[in-house]
Amino acid sequence: MRTPEISFYNHERRWFLFLILYLLIDLGRVQEIFPIASLRIGMVVTIVLVLFLFGSGRLVSSIRQQSKLILFFVLLLSFYVPVAINNFYAYIAFRTLFLMLPFLLSFIILVNSQSRLLIICKVNAALMLIGGGDTVFSTRGLGQEVFSKMKMIFVYFLCVIFLWYYLLLGRRRRNLKSFYGLRV
């Protein structure tokens, strides 16, 4: 018989897997690399994250100072929808951030240990390699141009370049210290 702890652990693990899947879709654009765009996989994963979020009963624990401000910002964008000159464009801006919320809140709840943060980091590193490779190859007419078409991909590169570099470096330093017996 499964104990509540094991059940909770499995539940959280599945939730975390969907979080990774969201990253693969949003930043990795897997739906553009493989012919699965018609499955609306991004929408499906977002819905699953919402279900996990409400089903877990831990939504309140994701509400902290910064997340409150993010929610206020989204709320502010929603106020403009009926009053803006172009309501549809205002709605698109609101929808973009609103649809990000399930991922953002799930991340705050789930990424609660160094090991999980490192997993996220490694996923980012892998995505960066794929994206970097695609950009380099597509300028030579070889890649799928998934990333080079997204002109803003370099911003993503800039954001994660040092994130994973330092995390891996920091980890290597610790491993070296452990190896030489310097770490207690």
Binding site: I161, F162, Y165, Y166
Partner: protein, 213 residues
């Protein structure tokens, strides 16, 4: 990392170049081995010139030349954004800068520029979300940096100090590039914010476990 830098160069974006420089500056600030870093920067610059070629050099040179057409038009767009904000201090609404642009475009722009984006995160934020948006966004930045300062002061085995430098550099890269492109509604800033939040929480748990043991 080299592959990524090459990819940034290949996009031939001036914003990307500024972002790289900003990240380099943060890296320099935190790094103790400054001579080794100088050699690395030199090698990276050589790679950038080899990959980008003469056209890349020409493009990057225009960053400081405000009379060159694209740079000048960008400055004029920012001026229009500022006037749009003064007229609408509560904001014109998300993605509405391009709609209202013709009303505020300077006389130097002869043809109707309907649909032109601000080409800057700041000049998207200021006119589109007004004083409340500015307040929220800057409060978020302040909190992120407060958390990062807290993390940088932690005495640990290198995890949090490495992460802090990484995040400082990431923010520098993002804001450096974002000053020249409209990325307010792109996910990167929000993603970095949640990484900071999670790191802070993990550090608190880590410290509590450390005390218990």
């Amino acid at each position: 990392m080299i592959l990524t830098i090459v990819a940034v160069v290949l996009t031939k974006s001036r914003g990307g170049f500024v972002g790289l420089c900003a990240m380099g500056a943060v890296y320099w600030w935190f790094n103790k081995k400054k001579i080794a870093l100088m050699i690395s920067v030199f090698l990276i610059a050589v790679i950038m010139l080899l990959v980008g070629g003469e056209s890349y050099k020409q493009d990057m040179r225009t960053i400081t030349e405000t009379q060159v057409n694209t740079a000048k038009v960008r400055l004029l767009s920012w001026e229009a954004g500022w006037r749009m904000f003064l007229d609408n201090p509560l904001g014109v609404g998300g993605n509405n800068f391009p709609i209202l642009f013709p009303k505020y475009q300077p006389s130097e722009m002869t043809r109707n520029m309907w649909g032109r984006v601000a080409h800057s995160l700041w000049f998207t934020l200021i006119p589109e979300t007004g004083v409340f948006g500015i307040l929220i966004y800057f409060l978020l930045i302040r909190m992120n940096f407060k958390d990062l300062t807290y993390l940088s002061r932690l005495e640990d085995d290198g995890f949090f100090s490495s992460l802090t430098i990484a995040l400082f550099a990431s923010f520098a890269g993002f804001f450096g590039a974002a000053t020249f492109i409209s990325v307010l509604y792109y996910p990167y800033f929000w993603y970095l914010t949640i990484v900071v939040m999670s790191a802070r929480e993990i550090s608190v748990t880590h410290a509590a476990n450390h005390i218990e043991t």
